[in-house]
Amino acid sequence: MDIQGKAWKYGSDIDTDVIIPARYLNDSSLEHLAAHCLEDLDEEFVDKMDEGDLIVAEDNFGCGSSREHAPLAIKAAGVSCVIANSFARIFYRNSINIGLPIMECPEAVAGIDEGDEVEVDVETGTITNVTKDEEYQAEPFPEFMQELISTGGLISYVNKTV
């Protein structure tokens, strides 16, 4: 998987209510979710980002509600990967299930500044900061999750077994 783009940096405890507020959850179409991605955190996010850009955040990204609309909104907005110190449990699970690449890597979060050009190799967990010419190594996913990811998410995985 080829991931490359500019980094947009945010802080800790970015909750799913600010990623996609409940007032937009009466419609789960991807265009609708994408249009309001991160609206209550950074109103300009959708306008200023380019397809392929990454979100880099601190601790507990995606905390709160189980709404899968949150990773769906991020993916549909064109974000190629989210890097954080840690992810909230349900957001982590949802991201893997729907095929949104996520990486836990405090070293990368510390090293990457907003606007840095970043490349990610999902299979090896290697994160390259092209702007600063630095490399960081994320923890690789456990084998089972790698299989889930490489199969194309949970539904494809289930379809292999039913």
Partner: protein, 420 residues
Amino acid sequence: MGMTMVEKILADHAGKDKVKAGELVNAKLDLVLGNDITTPVAINEFEKINVDDVFDQDRIAIVPDHFVPNKDIDSAQQVKQLRDFANDKGITNFFELGEMGIEHCLLPEQGLVGPGDIVIGADSHTCTYGALGALATGVGSTDMAAAMATGEAWFKVPETIKFVYNGQLQDWVGGKDLILYTIGDIGVDGALYKSMEFTGEVIDDLSMAHRMTMSNMAIEAGGKCGLIEPDETTLDYVEGRAQRDYKVYKSDEDAEYDQVIEYNVSEIEPQVAYPHLPENTRGISEVEDIRIDQAVIGSCTNGRLEDLRLAAEVLEGQKKADHVRLIVFPGTQEIYKQAMKEGIVETLIDAGAAVSTPTCGPCLGGHMGILAEGERAIATTNRNFVGRMGHPESEVYLSNPAVAAASAIAGEIVSPKEVL
């Protein structure tokens, strides 16, 4: 080395003698849950799976509760999709408006969850059923879809933090205060990926309603689940409700815990969580002058009969402040009916409350009580994130029902002692 409750439940459901924290297992599910926000996405995913039928028509619960009564055309479409799917697949536990309730008040009341169950729900507050000794945890819509097809899900066996509550509860302190205090202590990611186990003499004496309030908010500390060992109180509650067999699991004496945290509750006063995180807690005596525009009493956290009784005890013979809107939403129709029989509804209405049909609406800023720019609410709900209850520039303070009721009377956040 022994096992914790959560390890035992997972081992049994995965067909293993023993599991340990960190292991990934595939486990059989006793119940799969979804609501009107998460189930539409799950249905779309279910339709991509190569099966025609759900794994068990009696083990799926679909509860339209978030945007009902349908707040707009889009919400109506979503609920219609649920209704059509439930009819088409023969799902027996579809709860139509008028029979429904807030899912996490409704399912225990209906006996659809019991001790020892594994329940996944496409709603983060599914962890509520930990109060019954069930491993219950929130997931997303894709997990719900896969579970509806297979009746199974993968889990990472969590480590457990054991919380021990000893001492004597102060007046107007209950489950809500204990869990807010705990979240204030360990933080909103203090139990990330972990199982929380609530124990001690104080928990032994807590009613089921207070226990459910505590387990409900395990997710606000990042927890996977919040378990309480079943005892006589649990079995009394389950007796006569349980629709399936259940099994009591208890942690072994020599089970391995990630951490053991002890609290002396005698020092804990009613808690208030300031915006914009549930961890921003302080005792009621440390709350400055916080004028409120709205007081909200209800939700899956505090919408049970005991919660309404507490609110009515404070509001009896009193009036809300002129500038405050007081909204009360009981958790289920059964709770609503009982509150009417006990005269609670009349007390609340006489105090100036709008008493709503059961809905999650106001808690998540869906409908039935949205805040305007700059407005402030005290709420017995579970989250006070930016924009949670409406405008991104509005604020939510979390508390127990008695504090919310007292604050409605005073027009600012106060202890019940101030108005009685």
